[in-house]
């Protein structure tokens, strides 16, 4: 598929009733917004990332998906930062509860990286895997079409290969793209990953990719796998963290951690949320809103009279041990997909991979 083909595909998605969301440029970063045409995509841009550093820079080509990950993730679409759950109306002593409507908007997400899709599947387990599936999430999830893009380069804080979640787009996508650029060509290897994806692709009558084109694309993805900016040794890590609850290393992290919650807000799997009730002055109408919360907030663990986790040390330990250890107990997989956002967007550059390496060195 060439660029014109991709433009046709985007147009076809809109006319099929999908609102197309994808990477756009905003506030000096790659953020997710509406994609009406290819010109909305961050053409020729990439992101340079290091611990505590993020910067957009120009690439030496015109790649549309030549970035890695930014501050946004799919959870913004599926589990919005703020959403109303129900409204309560009081008439005399009687209360009436009006549940929020089930969302019906169809969204096509263009340009989801492999780690993003894995993060979405990780959140699916939390919100849909129990006895009480979250109906709002389920509705949004069913209405979400995913067009993934495999990475052909890795960012400075990426470690998806350590977590087995990239760089190649796998399950969870409806369509997978691999962007291939050379001096002579700029095209996409397209693969339908679901029946819904196949249905949308078939009217485009795309030519089939030659085996050499497929091979080149595969080589570029394989090359990205070798460029990871970070590594996390996961062998025995779950058990090590579970046994290192009293390690003095948590004190060391606590001297640097600001407990600002940035890591949890940018993390694509962090799902913790809270509710707040907003009432009108007459006290006759109250709305219950759900919003993102963070285990780094002191009142997160509030229990009649005080917080259970009062020290920053205990809160960092909670976050890291949940992400990399107890998440596996709960859901059979790690809560980390190796996207590196928590490293990049930490204002003091705390690096989860480095903290784990220190723990591993201290408690061999």
């Amino acid at each position: 598929m060439d660029l014109a083909g991709l433009a046709d595909f985007v147009a076809a998605l809109w006319s099929a009733g999908y609102r197309v969301i994808g990477p756009t440029v905003g506030d000096g970063a790659i953020v997710y917004g509406e994609v009406r045409s290819l010109s909305d995509l961050p053409q020729g841009l990439t992101d340079q990332q290091e611990a505590g550093q993020y910067r957009l820079v120009r690439r030496n080509d015109d790649a549309l998906f030549g970035f890695h990950v930014g501050p946004h993730s799919l959870k913004r679409l599926l589990l919005p930062p703020k959403e109303r759950l129900f409204t309560t109306i009081r008439k005399g002593p009687a209360l009436t509860v009006v549940p929020e409507q089930i969302p019906t908007e169809k969204i096509a997400f263009l340009g989801a990286k492999a780690c993003e899709i894995q993060a979405m599947l990780t959140q699916d387990q939390v919100l849909l895997g129990g006895h009480h599936p979250d109906v709002q999430y389920l509705a949004r999830r069913r209405n979400l079409l995913i067009i993934g893009t495999s990475c052909t380069s890795a960012g400075g804080t990426c470690f998806c290969t350590s977590m087995g979640s990239g760089p190649s787009v796998g399950e969870g996508a409806d369509v997978a793209l691999t962007e291939v650029i050379s001096e002579s060509t700029h095209h996409f290897i397209v693969e339908a990953k679901s029946s819904r994806g196949a249905e949308l692709l078939s009217p485009l009558r795309l030519p089939s990719a030659s085996s050499s084109e497929q091979q080149i694309a595969a080589q570029q993805v394989a090359a990205a796998a070798k460029q990871m900016g970070r590594t996390l040794v996961t062998d025995g890590l779950k058990e090590l963290i579970a046994q290192a609850m009293d390690s003095s290393h948590w004190d060391s992290v606590a001297t640097r951690c600001l407990s600002c919650a940035n890591c949890t807000l940018v993390c694509p799997t962090c799902f913790c949320n809270t509710v707040e009730d907003v009432t009108d002055l007459a006290g006759e109408h109250s709305e219950r809103w759900r919003r993102w919360d963070s285990c780094f907030h002191e009142d997160f663990s509030y229990l009649h009279g005080g917080a259970v986790r009062q020290s920053v040390k205990s809160r960092y330990r909670q976050w890291l041990s949940h992400k990399l250890s107890t998440w596996i107990d709960q859901f059979g997989r790690s809560g980390c997909v190796g996207c590196g956002r928590c490293i990049t967007f930490c204002p003091v550059g705390i690096d989860l991979t480095a903290e784990c390496a220190t723990l591993q060195a201290r408690h061999p």
Binding site: L85, G129, H131, H132, R141, F271, S314
Partner: protein, 286 residues
């Protein structure tokens, strides 16, 4: 991968959306504790529950809190909750009058092991408001008395005036098919019963450790020392059940607040067989 197919999501199915209930009865138990009897506003049966499960009670417009059911399981028409007024929501609930509305969602959580305990001696150890979540077990065992061997309740309260369900306790104490001991941490001149912590009662009762199923509910430190005292008496830790508490908000394991190590207290608990939580029980600030 979680399958997305199946019936279309329905807003009224959400475990996060409550149903209105009406206050049928308001009983003051102590200075700070009261019991609410609630019936569905729409009529019909109340939510079914098992002893040890909790509901999220919403005091309009302050918000909701997890409260264990304290009534008997066979009352199908109402839900009974005993609540201590300590925070903004429970203080809102404390101001309710007969005929007022409350929003309820639930029931949530793993119940007490009433089926496992059949054929065994049942030992209930309660501290403070911890008696309320154990009361449905007591009702159940008394109703199906022949399925169980001995029944002992040890209850520790702060002061004589903090003792819950006084009249009911007097009736239970008059029965010959259970032993109900009450102790207070601090006495006053009117009190002629036991003074001392509840673990002290435990040291003094006769028990057949291998045939005892112990269910413990109270502050974490009280449960910790009760467990030690039970161990000392030879009760296997696999026959001790504790009801844990963390900040439960959603009730279904999706808000993350009530995590204790690998557990979501709201859905993996609140009742745990002790060996399951042994490794996380005494970790500070977990």
């Amino acid at each position: 991968m979680i399958a997305l197919a199946g019936t279309a999501p329905d807003a009224t199915d959400s475990a996060l959306v409550p149903s209105p209930y009406v206050v049928k009865r308001f009983v003051c138990e102590t200075d700070d504790t009261f019991t609410l009897t609630l019936a569905p506003s729409a009529g019909g049966d109340a939510l079914r529950f098992a002893p040890g499960q909790f509901n999220m009670l919403y005091g309009f417009p302050a918000g909701d809190v997890p409260i264990s059911v304290s009534g008997p399981t066979w009352r199908k028409d109402v839900l009974i909750h005993t609540i201590r007024a300590v925070g903004p929501v429970t203080k809102t609930l404390a101001q309710l009058q007969r005929g007022d509305s409350v929003l309820v969602r639930g029931p949530f959580g793993v119940p007490w092991p009433i089926a496992n305990a059949e054929g065994q001696d049942v030992l209930l150890v309660a501290g403070g408001i911890g008696l309320a979540p154990l009361r449905p077990v007591l009702y159940h065992v008394l109703k199906h008395r022949r399925r169980y061997r001995s029944l002992t309740v040890l209850y520790g309260a702060r002061t004589p005036s903090d003792i819950l369900f006084r009249q009911e306790i007097a009736k239970w104490q008059a029965r010959s098919d259970l032993r109900f001991e009450v102790t207070v941490d601090r006495s006053d001149a009117s009190w002629h019963g036991h003074v001392g912590v509840v673990t002290q009662l435990l040291d003094r009762i006769e028990l057949s450790p291998l045939q005892t199923c112990a269910m413990v509910c109270g502050p974490e430190v009280m449960m910790h020392f009760t467990r030690l005292a039970l161990s000392k008496r030879g009760v296997p830790s696999s026959q001790m059940y504790l009801s844990m508490e963390r900040n439960m908000k959603c009730g279904v394991g999706s808000c993350g607040h009530c995590q204790l190590g690998p557990f979501f207290i709201c859905k993996d608990g609140p009742v745990f067989e002790y060996p399951r939580i042994a490794s996380v029980f005494s970790v500070k600030e977990l």
